[in-house]
Symmetry: none
Subunit: 417 residues, 2 copies
């Protein structure tokens, strides 16, 4: 039974910012699912002294240490040697692992393994061996110096493979609980406001717990329970889930959906509805985001990226007079774009986005962040005017959020706001 | 002058594996570029005692501590309070920051800020304030307890914004050496092949160093020199840069460009050329990627996302007979799509993408990964047939890569391949 885990990733490439520490994410997620609490992540470079120090710190504050990286045969792969030295465990050569590694190299790289690879067949005395059929470095788990240590390779695909096939089966018997959770997605209300409205439950909720996370332009509320079984955890969460939904009302756009577009796709697929998009400043982002989802073709007919006034007029049929009188960034043009694309694609609903994403204001002096999002429906056309903060990327992201939010509010029978 | 930095990310969502620690990656990359060594990354949950302990450990082993996360107004946002307590610095309320934050909330969330937001206007005494126009939490830097501490928000877009606009300008004067580098971008040659061809220089290059990174569908070669001045570092790199370019030939699509689309945008802007895109399986990704770049409007006229055959026929003018005879995923339809969008938008060049991104094969039995990328030019139409591996996301990404690669090869006067 483990109480606290720390994940220690070894590799200078992480400290140089060449790659993100996705191994720590993957391992944390797997441990959370079997009820083992991770208290720290540490990243340290390919440096024996600093790694020794990190192991010493970790063994004093946790009882399960999971290492990734530094198991390869090259000079900077020092995790195994260093960890074993600090924990006082000798390395033992495994001839059968050497053969396994040599066969892997022969099969994948079609040449004989160099002798340097033999060091990968050395593992801590008395360890459980985690065979690695997707790479050369085997992993292992062993108890020493008052803690349990697990060593995993640093290549993400190998780390993930051993995590699923070896680490979770090894650890599960040591855990007496499972963690289950629901993700509640909120748009149109900032984290402080969500926090204020839910303070009456959030401050006292321990198990189940309720935590808000500010995401780009939206808020994720994570409701989590720790219990002996998944159904027991689920039952523990239900009352709090109902309270949250009742308190936040229509700012909640979905539970256990991935994103606004995912919520829209699900609802439209259920109702056999289709939509299309006419995009100016978002330049295809609305189309890209809906088509990121498998099954998008059931609900999305297509779109036009009208990055110039010519395309707005000639492809979408926006009257030239509107473009001349009001400019491309105007509620009038947003309206005509939404109407134009709905007609062109014969879809049930259509959204449009026109605005100034920056870095410069437009030729009519509309400031950066001025955006009009339109929705055309059989019952009329709705325009949401926005003045968004942020850089080009953020303005484009938030504009697309609003386009999907207009759709989802319409689908839910809510005022377009 | 800083010698060693540690990046401390605060947030239980990292320890639960909900997200990867991309802030640490971004910060590490930015520090490496200005010659500051990062020795550790630490992740700690929303827990005051464990954060205090982590700060204590860090201040003994590094002299620059960069924190991300936990600056919001909610109960679990405790970084500022805890760091200031450990380092012995009082928090001071800034009325002008309160107004800035209130204006932001009003503008973005369209409601008044709650009083709880006022805690975000409290910053450590004597700090340099990092104003945050893309969120509510300002950042800051201050010296105390023998170290320098920098506090940044945890939302990745806000962290990146402050990193570029505040942290790097603040830290640069403290570094005595500079790291200069060139990014050499390679498309159409895998990392092992790049390694093999460049082994004769790569194995011995130390300063300047040359390192290959496998990116999604392409290879990045980073050439780096550490020197006292940027011109000195630049001079050190020139001979090796020439060797690399001569060795890899036209597989190099650019030096110090960000991406294939960036290379295309630059060349087309120089030559006052425009293009457009007709997209089926990429669903707007080509348009989205070119319009991610400021200045895209000079070269990109617009596009059509023709996710259904109806849209291909009615908007792009693809003859119904082609769709009936050959199916939507065919070289014939790719050709007609490229021709259609070029005519519709009156652009100089046009690309098209049609294919099967998955998860399922199409109704004609084309396997997942079958993609045709087209290029229409005044000199004729070219089709690149592809059979791509990977999941939906990868197939879409690689298809868009190929569309931009067709454009860049045409612009460079190379065979379309």
């Amino acid at each position: 039974m483990f109480h606290r885990a720390e994940i220690i990733a070894v590799g200078s490439e992480l400290l140089l910012g060449n790659i993100a520490n996705t191994n720590a994410k993957d391992i944390s997620e797997a441990l959370a699912a079997i009820g083992i609490d991770v208290h720290f992540h540490t990243v340290v470079g390919d440096n024996a002294q600093r790694l020794s120090d990190a192991v010493d710190i970790a063994r004093r504050r946790v009882d399960l240490l999971i290492f990734t990286g530094g198991l390869g045969p090259t000079y900077d792969d020092l995790t195994k040697q260093t960890v074993c030295r600090v924990l006082g465990v000798p390395l033992i050569f495994h001839p059968e692992l050497r053969e396994e590694i040599r066969r892997y190299v022969q099969r994948v790289f079609r040449h004989d393994a160099d002798d340097s690879i033999d060091s990968q067949a050395e593992l801590p005395e008395g360890c459980a061996v985690f065979h690695n059929p997707v790479g050369t470095a085997p992993g292992c788990a062993f108890a020493a110096g008052g803690v349990t240590a697990i060593l995993l390779p640093g290549v993400p695909s190998e780390c993930r493979y051993l995590l699923t096939h070896s680490v979770v089966p090894y650890l599960r018997p040591h855990s007496r609980s499972v963690i289950v959770s629901h993700n509640i997605r909120v748009f149109g209300m900032g984290e402080p406001e969500v926090q204020r409205r839910l303070a009456f439950v959030m401050d006292t909720a321990v198990n189940p717990s309720l935590a808000p996370y500010a995401k780009t332009g939206e808020v994720l509320l994570r409701l989590t329970a720790k219990a002996e079984t998944a159904p027991a955890g689920e039952a523990m969460m239900q009352p709090l889930l109902k309270t949250v939904l009742a308190t936040l009302g229509d700012a909640v756009y979905g539970v256990d959906v991935e994103s606004l577009e995912d919520a829209v796709r699900r609802t439209m697929a259920e109702r056999h509805l289709t939509f299309s998009a006419a995009e100016s400043c978002t330049g295809g982002l609305v189309a890209k985001r809906i088509t990121d989802l498998p099954g998008a073709s059931a609900v999305f007919k297509g779109g036009v990226v009208s990055y110039t006034n010519e395309v707005k007029a000639q492809v979408l049929g926006v009257p030239q007079a509107l473009l001349d009188d009001y400019g491309a960034v105007s509620p009038e043009v947003a309206r005509a774009m939404a109407q134009g694309i709905r007609q062109l694609t014969a879809s049930d609903l259509a959204v449009s986005v026109t605005g100034v994403a920056g870095p410069d204001s437009d030729d009519r002096g509309n400031p950066v962040g001025t955006v009009f999002v339109g929705l055309d429906t059989p019952d009329g056309t709705f325009i949401r005017p926005l003045l968004l903060g942020g850089d080009r990327e953020l303005i484009r992201t938030l504009s697309a959020h609003h386009a999907f939010d207009l759709l989802r509010r319409h689908l839910a029978g809510l005022a377009p706001l």
